[in-house]
Every structure is written in structure tokens, then in C-alpha cells.
């Protein structure tokens, strides 16, 4: 991984020195133990801040649309040229970027996708669960093994594989296919069994599924972190915030929370790349993954579509075919 980190820094430095980019979005060391965080680099000298490790979990595609928002130029002024932006991308980030290109939120020609081979990221909440609710005071990673010590002094040695994010364990596309610059290295093997979480959810009865949905959504505090970290949620105004007409009450009844989550998850049909940024952002631990993946599975099975690849092909929500399935349409 250190090799990859060096290559990322060298690549970034070269792009700035050759004046090919204005901004680079990558990961830097976070302020907490076992934590990395997004960083925006604007100068070759700052590229040393870039890191690559098992905690680069953020989906960086979420930062892209802001650089390309249409701005009204002042009278008599020529609008400044759009910036050229490079992004450090894992398989999931890259698929999100392709989605944004397809949806005309970002111009492909202004982007440089730096594809990084991803071996899977560590789920800190899994580590904390193994510490039985203790928090991680310190830790180290070596040769696929992780050592952590909790604040109470408890020490654990765990195989990295045991504590990867579910999104990474079930990831079918760890390799970046649309990279402009590909960093060499080994990626994780693609998961063979797809939609594992959604399949076990599908096996439940409708009543059980509804119960689980209600149980999870009842935790929601409507902070909208799930929406804000999602590259697909770039709407200028979300339907839950529209006041005329008002679709959702400002209150905290379960039904209101459900409407938000149903609206968001359904709006992800054919768009969600299952990066699980929403799951990690949720401060109260809602299992959003089951629901987003269920929709992804349905889109694949009913419409044979998997998002995040060809920007030319329209996703099912934006297209129709005469042979589209319609047995879900029932008489009132």
C-alpha cells in the first residue's frame, strides 16, 4: 500500500508540474485513529499530504458537481474556464463519476480519473463491535493483519479480511475500468456472489421485510447525512425540503422518515453503485445497504442493468422498452 501511496503522490505532483490540473481530490490522514479523509489539493507542494491506506472510505465523486455548477457571469465579464479536476478513484468512486458524467453533472473532458487498485477498506464499526463497544485507542496494520487496542486496554489481533466493509466484501468491481491514469498494483478479487445482502432480505416474507424496514428507519434523525455524502444526491433541492407543495412533514413520525428513505432509495434505482457512503455516514447505524442493494438487485434482474459503466446507455429510470416487465402493475 505504501508503494501505491508513493505512486499517487508522484502522479499528482507530475500533473500539477505539467499544469494539467487545477485541483486534485484525494485522501489525507484524518484526525482520528484509523481514519483518512477527503482533501482538495491545489499545489504540487501539497501532494505529500496524500495518503493511501485501508481507511480511504469516502466516495470522492460527491465533491465533483460543485466545480461545474453553472454560474451567471457578471455583466461584461467572460466566465472563467471550468477547472480541470483529478480524482483519486477506487472502483466505486469511478463508477459514481461515470454516473455523474452520464447525468451531465460533470464534463468528462475536464476530469482525470486516477484509478487506484483497491484491496478493500476497513470498517471501523466492525472493529469497535469486536472490542465490545470499546473505542479504538491505537492500532496498526501489517501484512493483512490488524492490531487494535481499545481505551480500556483490550488488545485484539484480527485478519483484515474479517473487518472489511460489507460493501468491499461484496464488491463485484474493485478494478477501475475508466481510469485515465491507472496506478499499478493488485486489486481485491471481485466477489462471486452478488447481491448477498439483498437476497437474504428477499427471502423474508413481505410482513417481515416491512417490519425490518420500519425498525431500521425508526432510528432516523433526519440529519440527511446519507443524502449529502451520496454522489447521486446532487438535486438542487431535495423533495423533502420543498415547501410548495410540501411532500413530507417536518415532523418525526415513522411514516415521514419512511417517505424520505423510500424516495431516496427508489431514486437510486439504476444509479446506486453500492459504495455504502450512506451507511458509513449514518450517525445512528441504519442498515441502508439492505434497501439500496435490493433496488440494485431488482434493476439488474428486471432490466439487466448495472450502473457505472457506459455513459451512453440510459439507466432504466430514464428509458423504456416495449418489452419492459410490467407484471408489478396491478388493477386498483
Amino acid at each position: 500500500m505504501e508503494g501505491i501511496e508513493t505512486k499517487i503522490r508522484e502522479t499528482a505532483k507530475a500533473l500539477f508540474s505539467e499544469k494539467k490540473i487545477d485541483i486534485l481530490i484525494g485522501h489525507e490522514k484524518g484526525s482520528l485513529v484509523f481514519h483518512s479523509r477527503p482533501v482538495m489539493i491545489r499545489d504540487a507542494n501539497d501532494t505529500e499530504r496524500l495518503v493511501w491506506n485501508s481507511f480511504c472510505t469516502n466516495n470522492l465523486a460527491v465533491y465533483l458537481p460543485r466545480f461545474f455548477e453553472p454560474k451567471k457571469p457578471k455583466k461584461g465579464e467572460v466566465p472563467p474556464p471550468l477547472p480541470r479536476v483529478a480524482v483519486i478513484a477506487k472502483g466505486c468512486d469511478a463508477r459514481s463519476i461515470i454516473g455523474l458524467v452520464r447525468e451531465r453533472q460533470v464534463p468528462r473532458q475536464n476530469l482525470i480519473i486516477i484509478g487506484v487498485p483497491c484491496e478493500g477498506m476497513i470498517d471501523k464499526s466492525k472493529l469497535e463491535k469486536l472490542l465490545e463497544g470499546d473505542f479504538i485507542a491505537s492500532g496498526s496494520i501489517k501484512d493483512g493483519g490488524t492490531s487494535i487496542t481499545g481505551f480500556s486496554g483490550k488488545r485484539l489481533d484480527i485478519k483484515k479480511e474479517q473487518v472489511l466493509l460489507d460493501a468491499c466484501i461484496e464488491c463485484a468491481f474493485p478494478v477501475v475500468e475508466d481510469a485515465d491514469i491507472a496506478i499499478a498494483g493488485t486489486s481485491r478479487k471481485p466477489a462471486t456472489e452478488k447481491y448477498k445482502t439483498a437476497k437474504s432480505f428477499s427471502e423474508k416474507s413481505p410482513a417481515e421485510r416491512w417490519r425490518y424496514f420500519a425498525q431500521e428507519i425508526s432510528k432516523c434523525i433526519r440529519c440527511y447525512a446519507c443524502r449529502q455524502v451520496c454522489p447521486n444526491c446532487y438535486c438542487k433541492e431535495c423533495f423533502v425540503e420543498q415547501t410548495n407543495p410540501r411532500w413530507v412533514s417536518a415532523g418525526d413520525d415513522l411514516s415521514e422518515k419512511m417517505v424520505f428513505h423510500i424516495g431516496r432509495v427508489f431514486h437510486q434505482a439504476g444509479r446506486c453503485v453500492e459504495c455504502d457512503a450512506c451507511v458509513r455516514a449514518c450517525p445512528v447505524g441504519i442498515d441502508i445497504r439492505t434497501f439500496t442493494q435490493k433496488v440494485a438487485q431488482d434493476v439488474k434482474e428486471m432490466f439487466d442493468y448495472c450502473p457505472g459503466f457506459s455513459p451512453e446507455v440510459s439507466p432504466p429510470l430514464c428509458a423504456y422498452r416495449l418489452d419492459d416487465r410490467q407484471e408489478f402493475i396491478t388493477e386498483p
Binding site: G30, S31, L32, V33, H35, R37, P38, V39, M40, I41, R42, D43, D46, R49, N58, V62, K129, G133, F135, A137, F151, K219, I221, R222, C223, Y224, A225, R227, Q228, V229, E241, T243, R246, S249, A250, G251, D252, D253, A277, R280, A281, P283, V284, G285
Partner: protein, 344 residues
């Protein structure tokens, strides 16, 4: 009776006693973390916890409450809640936060009847913090692991027993009513308490907050705000998880001839918070909104109440999806450390 020792084997009976007069809330361990919930017995209580995932402020300022309803032009008032509650085991930072919110909702000329009724009807037993995390900084912002501000009774966990100390009359009468379960504390108990407090205070990391108000006064238009807010994604985690954030919105929700007036949490991080009916928004971007959050806590509150409205619980630090760390923002403002990239 001002003090008492409760052996943990008597905790069940003590909670049972509380339950005869109060609805009892305490930290409960769940899969996602520790939450303040109503408990049926002492077995539900997670005594040796760090801090709860969400601050217990919702017990006083619920995320949503109906203020009144109306139908065909007739207003129906909702009686103010008069339920007696006991909160057992709140951390001192969260109790201190309530004493901050009191300053806003219990002013000479302006009183919030809903919040104050809940405060009046609640007896608060705080638990001296012996488990500070690396994200805590209470001692730098006027608090401390044994701060009693906002609490009626301060409890200290001494191995197999709890030392209870009354800080208010309400607390004193509760201790007196439970005297059958309490023993008189020995000198050694008090010494042990001092030791625990001193050790805990040493463990709490310190940050430099001095001079922040002066710097904020001068720094309203500095480019550092866009540097601080650059990574921000505009969710409400930092405000909804903050024990001192109290901002709310009031909405009339009408359906035909019927409707209700509700008060709900709101967040300065949302664009809708300051959107005018004209369409103008005085805080149009995340930069102005993040500046507002920090200005409110470390400048306006100090101007108005002489206290910072941050108690150093570290929840916003720990839960921010992009690790926007308030401690670093504070350090950047006080000029201690340049720790975020600056915009060109």
C-alpha cells in the same frame, strides 16, 4: 441528607424506587452504540459507558413536538407535559450543555414553557466521567469530568458502589427519600472519588481555546472560513448530535380544515434554515453556514451569556462523515496551527 453510598447490589431496588415516582431514563447499550432510553430495571443500564451516541437533549427538546392543533378555525391547546422523569447516569458534559440551553430558554423576559416544564419535572443524576475519549475536550471549554452544572445529583462510580452527592434541593430530597438504600460515605470513599476525578481530568486532552472570541470578532471575513468549510458536505450531523444546539423551526401543517402546529429541530447547516420568502438566502453556501455554527458557539453565545456553547463532548468530531474536526477549526482560528488547506 446530602450524600450517600449506594452499593451496586442495591441498584435494582434504587431504580425500582425511582420508578414509583418517575419515568426513568438511562444509558442503554444497543448494537449501534449507547442510547438514552426508558429503562424497566437496573439490568438495562450500561453503567460503564463512554458517552451516548446521541445527546440526551431530546428528552427536554424533542425532535418534534405538537404545540397545538386547529380545526375549522378553532384552536385546541395541547397541555404542557407534566410527566415526572429521572435521568440516571448522564455524563457531566451533557448536563453542562443543559445548563447552557437553560440560559436561552429561561431568560428574564423570555421563557420557553415546554422546555422549562420538562426541566422542572426532571431530576438529573449525572455520572462523573471516568472514561474520557481522545476526542473529548471538556476541560478546555469550562467543563470537566466532575462538573455538576445542570445536575441535581452527582454520582461517582467507585468500583462496586456509587457515591451520590446532592447539588440541588431536588437532589437532596431524592437522596433523603432513598435513605433506606444508602450508607453514609466514609472518608476513604471521598478520597477515592477525588482520585478518580483527578485521574480523569488528566486524561482529557486539552485544546487551546483562549483568544477565540477576539479572533472571531476580527475574523468574520477571513478566507479561513472557506478553507474550514471546504470538505463539509452540508449534513446536519454536527448540529443534531450536539448537546447544546437548540435551534428549532415551527411549522403549521394543514390538511383541509384541520392542522397542527409543530416544533421540530432545525440546523444552521441546512440552506432552508435562512432562506427568505423572497428567495434570497443570506447564508448561501456552506462557508457562511459553517462560520455561523462556530460564531454562534464561540462568539455570539459568549457575548450574550458569557459562556461558550460547546461543552467538548467530541460527538461532532467523532461522527462527521468527512472528519471535519472542530478542534482543528478552533486551533486554526486561535492561530495555533495551520491544519487545513488554504484556498488560492
Amino acid at each position: 441528607m446530602k450524600q450517600g453510598i449506594l452499593t451496586l447490589s442495591e441498584l435494582t431496588k434504587f431504580i425500582e424506587l425511582l420508578k414509583t415516582s418517575y419515568k426513568v431514563f438511562a444509558p442503554v447499550k444497543k448494537e449501534e452504540g449507547v442510547f438514552f432510553e426508558e429503562v424497566n430495571s437496573a439490568d438495562d443500564i450500561a453503567l460503564g459507558y463512554y458517552n451516548s451516541k446521541l445527546p440526551p437533549k431530546r428528552l427536554f427538546l424533542p425532535q418534534c413536538e405538537v404545540l397545538c392543533t386547529f380545526e375549522n378555525g378553532q384552536l385546541v391547546e395541547i397541555p404542557i407535559a407534566d410527566e415526572k422523569c429521572a435521568i440516571f447516569g448522564m455524563r457531566p458534559c451533557d448536563a453542562l450543555a443543559l445548563s447552557r440551553i437553560d440560559m436561552v430558554f429561561d431568560k428574564e423576559d423570555l421563557k420557553d414553557p415546554y422546555y422549562l416544564a420538562r426541566r422542572k419535572n426532571t431530576v438529573l443524576l449525572s455520572l462523573v466521567c471516568d472514561k474520557p475519549l481522545d476526542t473529548c475536550f471538556c476541560t478546555s471549554v469550562g467543563g470537566g469530568p466532575s462538573s455538576g452544572d445542570g445536575s441535581d445529583i452527582r454520582m461517582v462510580h467507585l468500583g462496586n458502589r456509587l457515591l451520590l452527592e446532592a447539588l440541588t434541593e431536588k437532589g437532596e430530597s431524592l437522596i433523603s427519600s432513598a435513605k433506606q438504600f444508602l450508607k453514609k460515605p466514609k472518608q476513604s470513599d471521598l478520597e477515592e472519588k477525588e482520585k478518580i476525578v483527578a485521574e480523569s481530568e488528566k486524561k482529557v486532552p486539552r485544546i487551546k481555546v483562549d483568544g477565540i472570541k477576539e479572533n472571531l470578532e476580527k475574523g468574520f471575513n477571513l478566507p479561513l472560513w472557506s478553507a474550514i468549510a471546504e470538505r463539509c458536505l452540508g449534513c446536519g450531523v454536527c448540529t443534531y448530535l450536539c448537546p447544546t444546539c437548540y435551534c428549532f423551526d415551527i411549522t403549521d401543517e394543514v390538511k383541509g380544515e384541520k392542522g397542527k402546529r409543530i416544533r421540530t429541530w432545525d440546523s444552521c447547516q441546512y440552506p432552508l434554515f435562512t432562506l427568505h420568502a423572497s428567495g434570497h438566502n443570506p447564508r448561501p453556501s456552506k462557508t457562511e453556514r459553517m462560520r455561523q455554527r462556530i460564531m454562534h458557539k464561540f462568539f455570539y453565545a459568549v457575548e450574550n451569556f458569557g459562556r461558550t456553547f460547546c461543552v467538548g463532548c467530541g460527538r461532532c468530531v467523532r461522527s462527521c462523515p468527512v472528519n471535519l474536526d472542530l478542534r482543528e477549526s478552533i486551533e486554526l482560528i486561535t492561530g495555533n496551527k495551520a491544519c487545513v488547506s488554504t484556498r488560492k
